[in-house]
């Protein structure tokens, strides 16, 4: 039986009981501030305790933000980084980066794909999780055709390499039609949004698609605890 990975968020994992094969790609999209990066952090934490090598490409903020975020949840970031099990890649500061791993000159998607591919090649013998947060930021300057072609070839390559990849998209950054097409390329789609009354909005999460697999598509409420991270409310249906 093939190895399966999970998000590390109990309620969400129960929505995909069979888990995700390594080589699957997850699209996480949602409103600004809804908790996409927190979900990415949970995904990384789960990978670390399961023995995966976790790579986090920070596009919207310096990697130090994710480092601090993980530390807040009492993850021994330094131990994992020293062991080469956690790589925080700076795609935010570009040339000014002080990080050990950084991606600069992101004027070409082709070049980004090569840099990412080179990085992954170093861990060809390991089980790898890759998170790009957020990929939509990288894609802003590019034309629709370029974006679609980039996705087709990149996701194919990640699948072949057996990478469990999570790409984060901020809603409203890319054209809606582009997002619809992109959504088809991914094995798993997760939507996060604010809902409920405007005076007291609620966070909602929904698994929108799992290719060739069962899933529970009911949107569910969740909260973010500074101690426990994402707390799913499995028994509260909307």
């Amino acid at each position: 039986m093939k190895e399966r990975g999970f998000f590390g968020v109990d309620g969400l994992d129960r929505a995909i009981p069979q888990g995700m094969e390594y080589g699957s790609q997850i699209l996480v999209h949602g409103d600004t501030g809804v908790g996409k990066t927190v979900l990415a952090g949970e995904f990384l934490k789960e990978g670390l305790v399961c023995g995966d090598t976790c790579i986090y490409v920070a596009c919207d903020e310096p990697p130090a933000v994710m480092r601090d975020h993980l530390r807040d949840f009492k993850v021994g970031v330094r131990a994992y980084e020293e062991a080469g099990r956690l790589l925080l890649v700076d795609a935010y500061e570009e040339e000014e980066s002080r990080e050990r791993h950084f991606i600069a000159n992101q004027y070409s998607l082709e070049k980004y794909a090569v840099l990412e591919s080179n990085l992954l090649a170093r861990f060809a013998d390991r089980r790898v999780r890759l998170v790009v947060d957020s990929l939509s930021t990288l894609l802003i300057p590019f034309a629709q055709e370029e974006i679609l072609e980039f996705h087709r070839s990149r996701l194919k390559s990640l699948r072949k390499k057996g990478i469990l990849a999570m790409d984060v998209f901020v809603d409203g950054v890319l054209d809606r039609r582009v997002m619809t097409v992109i959504g088809h390329f991914y094995s798993v789609n997760v939507r996060m949004k604010f809902g409920g009354p405007k005076v007291r909005p609620e966070r909602l999460i929904q698994v929108g698609k799992v290719k060739s697999g069962k899933f529970d598509a009911v949107p569910r409420r969740f909260g973010i605890s500074p101690v426990f991270g994402i707390i799913f409310a499995p028994d509260v249906e909307v």
């Binding site: 399966r4 305790v49 023995g51 131990a79 062991a83 426990f228």
Partner: protein
């Protein structure tokens, strides 16, 4: 045919040897109990025959000499076979083994690698405790070439908490704290229950429980020893006595705040073995991680989070 004195010696040595074997397999404080027995024998002799035990000075070597003077006529102490030298609050004792009535026990215990406390030093230990009201311990090395034993009776900085386990009336007590023993089934039931009702707290609860439960132990250990490795060793012994597993410090870089630690026969691995508590195979020693994090944080003096980087029970 053996004379009666030989038979008595044989019996005494056999009793001590059997005690060493038995206490070595005792959980918690086997070492402590054996030491209590050797010291306790000396104390009883002191009670029964020590009317003449009069102190003229509080120097440890003088206390030992006063003890010899009071009880020197007793064969087991062999007055004159001891040389005493002060070393701070400790006493260095050089003893001839030639006429030692415990030599058969001593040799066999060393051959078998058993727990061992010299009964002769135990007598001095009891005298020092009686006179100064301080806890003392003993150590001895035998030099076969010269037939001389080099012993030391020294003040104890701290006893392991887990060695101080007693029944007080109907309650189990460890170092003054009410205690209870759990088997792995009980512990597993606790894990399963937490996992069923609030899975997102399980790892955190275990880590924090381990962390909080070892803060005081780590503080006491840090107060007793200047060298971090010595303090850590005390903590590791407490963990082992609790049944967590045998902990080994592979390396420690105090300036970098980096330690490599191994745990053998981990209780937390044994508990979840064969159970599908988690969806995917993973490291599970969160209680131990918390305990080690507390120890290193206190002993090194800055926040440390321990991570379990590898587990032999998993294939990665």
């Amino acid at each position: 045919m053996m004379n009666s004195e030989d038979v008595y010696l044989k019996i005494i040595n056999s009793i001590y040897l059997t005690l060493s074997r038995a206490t070595g397999t005792m959980p918690f404080g086997g070492r402590h109990y054996l030491e209590e027995i050797t010291r306790g024998v000396g104390e009883q002799i002191l009670k029964d025959y020590g009317e003449e035990f009069k102190l003229e000075s509080t120097r440890p070597s003088d206390i030992c000499k006063a003890y010899f003077n009071a009880l020197g006529y007793l064969v087991f102490l062999e007055e004159g076979a001891f040389q005493l030298e002060d070393e701070g609050n400790s006493v260095l004792v050089t003893m001839s083994q030639e006429h030692c009535i415990y030599q058969s026990y001593c040799r066999r215990a060393q051959e078998e690698g058993l727990l061992f406390y010299c009964p002769r030093l135990g007598a001095l230990q009891s005298a020092l405790k009686n006179a100064l009201g301080l806890e003392y311990s003993t150590a001895v090395e035998f030099e076969p070439a010269s037939g001389v034993c080099h012993g030391k009776v020294f003040p104890v900085k701290r006893r392991l908490r887990t060695e101080m386990m007693h029944f007080v009336d109907d309650t189990l007590d460890i170092a003054g704290e009410r205690a209870v023993l759990f088997t792995k089934d009980v512990y597993l039931s606790f894990l399963v229950a937490v996992n069923e009702y609030a899975p997102f707290i399980l790892q955190k609860v275990l880590f924090d429980t381990g962390y909080r439960s070892f803060l005081n132990i780590a503080r006491e250990a840090a107060d007793c020893y200047k060298i971090p490795e010595d303090s850590l060793q005390v903590c590791f012994e407490e963990m082992k006595n609790c049944g967590i597993g045998r902990i080994e410090l592979v390396s420690l870089d105090t300036s970098a705040g980096h330690a490599v630690i191994r745990c053998y026969q981990s209780f937390e691995v044994a508990v979840v073995e064969g159970m599908e508590l988690y969806r995917t195979p993973r490291v599970t020693c969160d209680l131990l991680r918390g305990q080690l994090s507390a120890c290193l944080t206190v002993i090194l003096g800055y926040p440390i989070i321990c991570e379990e980087m590898q587990c032999k029970a998993l294939e990665w």
